[in-house]
Amino acid sequence: MRILISELRPWLKLLARRRARMALGALLLALTVGAAIGLLALSGWFITATALTGAMLAAGMAASLEVYAPGGGIRFFAVLRTVARYLERVYNHDSVLRLLAELRSGMFAVLARLDARALGQRRASEWLNRLTADIDTLDSLYLRLLAPPLVALLAIALVSGLLGIFLLPAGLAVGAVLLALWAWLVIGQACLGMAASTRRVATLDHLRGRILETLQGLAELKSYGTLSQHRARIDADQAALYADQWQLGRVAALGNALVGLGVSLAAVLALWLAAEAYRAEALSGPLMVMMPLAVLAMGEALGALPASFTGLGATRAAARRLNALGRSRSVLSEPESPAVPVAGAPGVRLRNVTLTYPGALTPALDGLDLSLEPGERLALLGASGAGKSSVAALLVRLLDPDQGEVLRDDIPLVDVSLDELRTRTAYLTQHSELFDDSIAANLRLAQPEATEASLWHVLELVELADWARELAHGLETRVGEGGRQLSGGQARRLVLARVLLLDAPLVILDEPFAGLDRPMAARIAERLDTWLCGRTVLYLVHQLRHDGSDPPGILRSLTLRDGRLG
């Protein structure tokens, strides 16, 4: 229980920041429930009062009943219930969406501090979808798990108070029964459903993985004739998922049945006690009828609790995953008193660096020593997976090493502020990453204040200027999701232009001319050669061809193999 609260605490804190809004939402919810109780209670009282008065009138006795106030009251509660419910739904959905905006941008800020170990996972896009779904699970924390039990408590207090005014024992007894029911619905249901609902997402992921591997490996499975054995694995995974769902379904059904039973029993108890009092002439007939009816209306206040609390584990699991992300060792540290790197081309050194990716069977870098003199151009060669990108990631602190250290002008990189380091290092990654935005906006990521002229200048360097001038919207042309509107070669040159715009003293270029034809590569290389003067340059290349298509000005080259210099 304490663990559960500590897991949810960061998210509850977030809710607490909007305390007033949450309280108002809960109040509207309570008003809806209160109106339902009022409507039934007052109607019961009214009908009984009229019946008794009518009977006396019929018997020729003098009797009178003021009918307009209760009649008006009934109409008032009827309208109030509808209006309060409508307002409550609109207001609370607005709150949830506000929360969603905060959660998403907050989570983005957490992600932005993560290193490439966490971000570069094999199944990045699915992992991100998972993350988005977890955020969406948490945004309903208030509407499903916080407000309803509080409002139910309020309604219990209201009903038992109302009964207690007229008949204290009835108020106390009903209050006790309803409180016990409430406690079961919140705590009992949560406990019974916790394990199964916490597992749900993981079990679903497992099943999805199984189905995917079957579909992708269908040819192999068919040719070895082991498809049916493999299908048995899927069936077993689905059986595990459905065993949990069956358990959750039964628990929720138990809760729902208990709501109906508990509320009705409380109403019967109220009627019994009220009947005793009526016979003892301690209570009027209309008030006696009002009591069970008021209690019956509690069904509405408690009805949503079983489903929500049976599934509490799902919210807990989502919170757990997101908490873990924020606390993981993958969060890059910022120095407390950052050192300021000197201007000009820096020297760079990796000292005995070891790096292992999570889940990998072997390290990506294994005791690597490497240095670059100021202004030097070094080519780091090696097959894909040899560790070249890991070296680059270390130099811009997309990663920190497990062992060893990385120095820039003899200052450990961890002592330099992340933004400072990154704006002083231009890194052209292997993938041409573009945003669904305009050409200009994609370029200005490197330098938000860049003038139009400087944008054209870098486009000239990569031979995109003529093409861009032909476009109907020029620099404002959108590049599509992931740059899909551009050809591979154009996208490559555009990201190269963006790196040039950064104007940094340390430049890392990973296969800068990938996907370009040889003459164009040679022309761009020539311009690049001039531009790179006075900077320290690290090229990451598969292998040197020595045919004029290699990056310009390489003085020294080293080959990486399995994370070591070979």
Binding site: S223, T226, A253, A257, S264, V268, L271, L361, F435
Partner: protein
């Protein structure tokens, strides 16, 4: 010697009517008719118990207030508690039975989809995005839940229960029944309103959520770039702005959508209020019209207590309406899969081979793909035992189709394709299958009975002995989902180890080194050479010189035709 030949049976699949989402849902429901009917009956039981409960309450109150003093009510209280117990049981039964039906239906739907996808075969699946298929078979099948577990039983109750209550009220006081009846013609209107509201809401929400998620995912996918340029703070602000804009927009839709259910609530509330006031005034004798004079506390109270129950099934139904929308949306996508006709299947029959040396014999074989016409052929090719054949040619020329034909994944539309072996050929392509489980689990896919020694030997021949020796858990080392932890080359060699483990005489390889770097490619080539030493026959579709150098013959395919053959 025995051989297998592909024989095509007549196939009527094309005559099948195409399935619609609604019909599919109906068929699925029909498969669980017994449980779904039980659930509805239990729900009816709940309704009946509620009615009896209200009647008993009214009788008790009536006796207490208008009966003789000390009139016996104890037995009625006992009966009331008994009814409440029965009602709780019935409610539990309704929910659990419907849940069981839904679980069975979803299991069956997923099995049918998997069967169908397997029948479509590797050839047809290759054109689909497998991650998308995975989520369809998991999430979208799960999205059918609410429809069967809640909406369908409630749909029947929403007609039956209000009718029953109406009949009872009619018997008690026809004027009060008319108030309910006045609301009744509005019921279809409510339904339409709620339905349209829910659907519009669903569509609008879906579009907006997709747009928002797109924006969010775009920023998150590119987060490395944002980190590299130190732009993450700006991007976080943009994420907030987009989400807040989404909020403002969707609130506009929501305000209107909530109105429709508010209207339903309003009518329910007002009807109850009107009935309460009518009954009250009638009891006072203010109303002299019609049946009002014969109203009693019992009948008045019963009517008042039953009025909310008249609207309750409808309100529940409207709450479950989005379940229907969700299920229909999912069914649409899933039915599209089911409507895809599987390629013509065939059985392999043993046949005698005239030539002892030939392992594969294609004569004038052609392959047609639905909608694309003839993609291969006519091709004639004979492969002897122990031969290594390289298939080359531009991508899309038909190399893969030729391999698939030999593997038996597609049938020849014309000509014949024979493989003179009782064992199916082993298969390997550029995306090796790695299942969640241990290395041993992965190897046993090729031979479920393989011993540890044989598996170790196979790993060694595939060039993985070095890796194995570094793993403390050896063969029991778990490999993650889709080979997490293994490099591309290691995964490829794991698939090769499976080939070594199998006793397939013929090995078909579709671009086995396409996604590997040169070092890994060389190691795979070395392993393939060991396969050849074992006397296996290899047919390799490849562009890579290292693999082509191994071949005894190079067959070049262009535009589905065999254009040249060179002996290496």
């Amino acid at each position: 010697m025995k051989a297998t030949t592909d024989v095509m049976p007549a196939n009527d699949a094309s005559h099948q009517e195409s399935l619609t989402p609604k019909r599919w849902l109906k068929e699925l429901a029909a498969g669980e008719r017994r449980r779904l009917t039980l659930a509805t009956l239990a729900g009816l039981g709940v309704g009946l118990c509620t009615i009896v409960q209200m009647l008993l309450l009214a009788i008790i109150i009536d006796r207490l207030l208008t009966g003789a003093p000390e009139a016996p009510v104890g037995v009625l209280f006992v009966a009331l508690i008994g009814v409440l117990g029965v009602r709780a049981l019935a409610q539990w039964a309704q929910e659990t039975t419907a849940q069981a039906a839904s679980l069975a239906i979803r299991g069956r739907a997923r099995a049918a989809l998997l069967d169908h996808l397997t029948a479509l075969g590797p050839v047809r699946l290759s054109s689909r995005h497998s991650a998308g298929l995975g989520s369809q078979l998991v999430e979208q099948v799960e999205a059918l839940d609410g429809y069967f577990a809640r909406f369908l039983p409630q749909l029947r109750l929403a007609t039956a229960l209000p009718l029953l209550i109406f009949a009872i009220v009619l018997g008690l006081d026809w004027l009060a029944a008319i108030f309910l009846l006045l609301a009744a013609p509005l019921i279809p209107l409510f339904m339409a309103l709620v339905g349209m509201g829910a659907q519009r809401l669903n569509q609008a929400q879906f579009a907006a959520v997709t747009r928002l998620s797109g924006h969010f995912l775009d920023r998150v996918r590119g987060i490395t770039t944002l980190q590299l340029f130190g732009r993450t703070a700006t991007a976080a602000a943009e994420v907030f702005a987009a989400a807040d804009d989404y909020r403002a927009r969707s609130m506009k839709t929501l305000r209107i959508a909530f109105l429709s259910s508010a209207v339903l609530e309003f009518f329910a509330s007002v009807a109850i209020a009107v009935i309460a006031i009518y009954v009250g005034f009638g009891l006072l004798g203010y109303i002299t019209y019609g049946p009002s004079s014969s109203l009693t506390l019992f009948s008045g109270l019963t009517i008042l207590l039953l009025a909310p129950e008249f609207f309750q099934p409808l309100r529940s139904l409207s709450q479950h309406y989005h379940d229907r929308a969700a299920a229909l949306g999912a069914a649409e996508a899933l039915v599209a899969i089911l409507n895809e006709t599987p390629p013509e299947t065939f059985e392999r029959r043993s046949a005698d081979s005239g030539n002892n040396d030939a392992l594969v014999r294609l004569s004038e074989a052609c392959v047609e793909h639905a909608g694309r016409g003839q993609v291969l052929g006519p091709v004639s090719l004979e492969v002897s035992r122990g031969e290594v054949i390289a298939l080359t040619g531009p991508s899309g020329a038909g190399k893969s189709t030729l391999l698939q034909l030999i593997a038996g994944f597609v049938a020849p539309s014309e000509g014949s394709a024979e493989v003179m072996s009782e064992r199916r050929p082993a298969w390997m392509d550029q995306r090796p299958l790695v299942i969640q489980g241990t290395i041993a689990d992965n190897l046993r896919l090729a031979d479920t009975q393989a011993s540890d020694e044989r598996m170790q030997a196979a790993l060694q021949r595939a060039g993985l002995a070095g890796l194995l020796s570094r793993l403390p858990e050896g063969l029991d080392t778990p490999v993650g989902e889709r080979g997490a932890g293994l490099s591309g080359g290691q995964a490829q060699r794991l698939a090769l180890a499976r080939v070594f483990l199998s006793d397939a005489a013929l090995v078909l390889l579709d671009e086995p080194t396409a996604s590997l770097d040169e070092d890994s490619e060389a190691e795979v080539a070395a392993s393939l050479a060991r396969l050849v030493e074992e006397g296996r026959t290899l047919i390799i579709a490849t562009h890579h010189p290292a693999l082509m150098a191994m071949a005894h013959r190079v067959v070049r395919i262009q535009a589905g035709q065999q254009v040249e053959e060179a002996t290496a």
